[in-house]
Symmetry: C2
């Protein structure tokens, strides 16, 4: 994996980072790296995530999913960090005879559509929740279980859970002797892609999860005390420095459909980790080349408050565009769709630079198991580095508790939820 | 449709709009409304879009698609405004026996997957490009045509085009006697959802496109010279005023899976229309309740640079959550998934307000044909109003031309493309 920060330098872009400032920043990277390395060595909360490439037992995951290997589909029931990593890994690895679907919302119509689409008697249910009490996940799980029972399917033969040491899902697994894997200790959900949380569906699909972990290991091995030697730190440090200079939005634009969930996964990683104390860069999800026809006008000519992260793989399978006798289209004939996509990538990158808009290129060798493992680990450690540079607590997410309590109160859960009262007191100014 | 701006008032939020400032803004809305009404009356470029509910001939669309009515699938080949409206309308109207797929990118692996998935002998191809020369769209069209020929399918029996008066697609339609519809004059792609550009796939699927237009008509009829009387103007004026006060990001968060493409459509509308001259609010796409577990931490505790637009339908079909004897989950049993989703919506809205973060509620009666037509028209006219208030040219997108020329030059098209030379001169600082 390469990170090219040339178009984020002050000689090209405004905002941009000057060469001297980059050297100063590199001193802070060295200090932050010491803290990260110490956190990893002590397996401290959060930092423990960065040890997953070594700690995750791929063989144990493969053994746990073995009874489900013949499934025609996998249905992941989870939300946030319990779903995005799995969707990202599974989609990045490409099509499989075993479909992967995700229930990560409680929209009744969408849930009904998914259940109608799936062959319930050959669908593996992958239920993921650390606490085993996440309202959306457990509601969906109850609905799925009920739908299977109604269809005459024994759900206990087709369910695997990934959860914490205790809680309703753990109890259920014990009661029904379900295969059960652990949400690793000390690892927040958004940092758990390289554990069972992110790897179970890919394993059921028969993908090489060992190679995903070895990609993560390669990124782990490349950690060093200088941003000039470590692509992940180069990225995290630049994102932080650009934010400090006004690039408060980070538009992440992979040029590969199979990385579309990656942009969502990144958005959670960045938003929940860094969005606190009034700080944090706002992630915006985009997709190349599609969003050149949607967002590029704004990125190039709107406020100077953005950096654009362009992601691609150097090698891919191409597909030739047929020749045509239409004069205006003749230049396309005989080239490949992939060549066109690459030309669009380079044109967009140059177009942003020509307008002085900072952008960073992340380039994988290939979009394969190793490549996605390397990319996910690199972005995680980039985020941890940025958190150190901001001086915030990267691994918590305190601002989401208020709403959870309000929702519980509205639904009449046992306990005192003063937050629910605020809902009734809403200020209204309705125009209709 | 209702718009509730109570949580965007200065009494609740920071940034927020004071009651006096709202009255001052309303005077500017009256002036802008006069300009919009005059533009509509004269069918001026761009403003003509706002006449589509009256001008679009639903019967002509239905007649053109009639030969394709028995298709098992529709494949839209388009990009940007030639794809997003169609995806938005078709998805919002819910599942159909006729699948709708969109080729709006030139990723060779993704194109291959789509073509492998589709039953080519019963797939209607919906090719959309005003100029008939859009590189991505025409490349994909050539590939699709070739795949059909290879499969022994006569593509001329199954193709419909929507295009401008002249160009390769128009010529092709004439040569092969294909059904052909017009991209309406004076209507930029991102404002064309309520024309053939947005309605053909829904029509092939058998949805009631007349009702979509009548929803647009209802929003058109509600235009008035005061934001206090017109939900669309209330939304556009508030978004503008909040941006002026620092809310440079507009996170659009529908609580309905079927509105996920709507958030993408909105992002194009907002970004390409308003992102110019260093101005423009950055749209961020989100989805409730899912993104509560991803973006909400940032929205509630990050920089005060955001407004959140919460969208839902008042009525929907619900699905009951089964009772459970697990104590921690008992409060969920017997409620509906939709009730849970509504509680999450209201909890998130209150949670943002409690943290002083501005948010606006858009509420549809139902998510049906009429509802989506009303919503799309309302957001279009809200965008036009915002453009008037910013004092920018809403209907062009000059910043995307540079990249198009660079890509053409890189691919060796005839002509002079100095932009392509800039690609080779890229500043590099590669970390690997």
């Amino acid at each position: 994996m390469q990170v090219d920060i040339g178009n984020a330098l002050a000689s090209v872009a405004d905002p941009g980072v000057g060469a001297d400032a980059l050297d100063v920043l590199d001193d802070r990277v060295a200090i932050a790296h010491d803290r990260i390395a110490a956190g990893m060595a002590d397996d401290d909360f959060g930092y423990a995530s960065l040890n997953l490439p070594e700690r995750t037992d791929a063989a144990a995951i493969e053994s746990a999913v073995e009874p489900l290997a013949d499934s025609d589909a996998v249905l992941t029931v989870g939300i946030g960090g319990s779903a995005l990593g799995a969707a990202t890994v599974s989609t990045a690895l490409g099509p499989s005879d075993t479909t992967h679907r995700v229930l990560d919302n409680v929209d009744p119509e969408a849930v009904a559509e998914v259940l109608d689409d799936l062959p319930l008697d050959s669908t593996a249910v992958n239920a993921v929740s650390r606490s085993g009490t996440t309202a959306e996940t457990l509601s969906n799980f109850l609905v799925v279980r009920d739908a299977m029972e109604s269809a005459g399917v024994d759900w206990t033969d087709q369910t695997i859970v990934t959860t914490g040491e205790a809680g309703p899902l753990r109890a259920l697994a014990e009661e029904h002797d379900l295969p059960a894997l652990d949400v690793p200790d000390g690892v927040p959900g958004r940092f758990s892609a390289l554990s069972a949380v992110g790897l179970v569906p890919a394993a059921i699909q028969g993908h090489d999860i060992e190679a995903v972990l070895s990609g993560g290991q390669a990124a782990m091995d490349s950690l060093s005390d200088s941003l000039y030697d470590c692509p992940a730190y180069a990225y995290g440090a630049l994102a932080y420095a650009l934010d400090q200079r006004g690039a408060s939005v980070n538009a992440v634009m992979p040029y590969a459909e199979r990385l579309e969930p990656f942009a969502e996964w990144f958005a959670q990683l960045w938003a929940e980790s860094l969005g606190k104390d009034g700080l944090g860069q706002t992630p915006a999800r985009a997709l190349g080349a599609t969003d050149q026809h949607s967002q590029l006008q704004l990125y190039r000519a709107g406020p100077r408050d953005k950096m654009v992260t362009l992601v691609r793989a150097s090698e891919r399978t191409d597909r030739e565009i047929p020749e045509t006798d239409v004069e205006d289209l003749a230049y396309l004939g005989g080239t490949g769709l992939g060549e066109l996509l690459d030309a669009e990538f380079e044109a967009t990158e140059a177009s942003l630079a020509a307008a002085g808009r900072p952008n960073v290129r992340i380039e994988l060798d290939r979009l394969d198991a190793r490549g996605i493992g390397e990319l996910l680990y690199a972005m995680e450690v980039a985020c941890v580095l940025a958190g150190e540079l901001y001086g915030i607590e990267t691994f918590n997410q305190p601002a989401v508790e208020w709403g959870k309590n309000a929702a519980r109160g509205l639904l009449g859960a046992d306990g005192e939820f003063p937050e629910a009262d605020a809902v009734a007191e809403k200020e209204r100014l309705v125009v209709e």
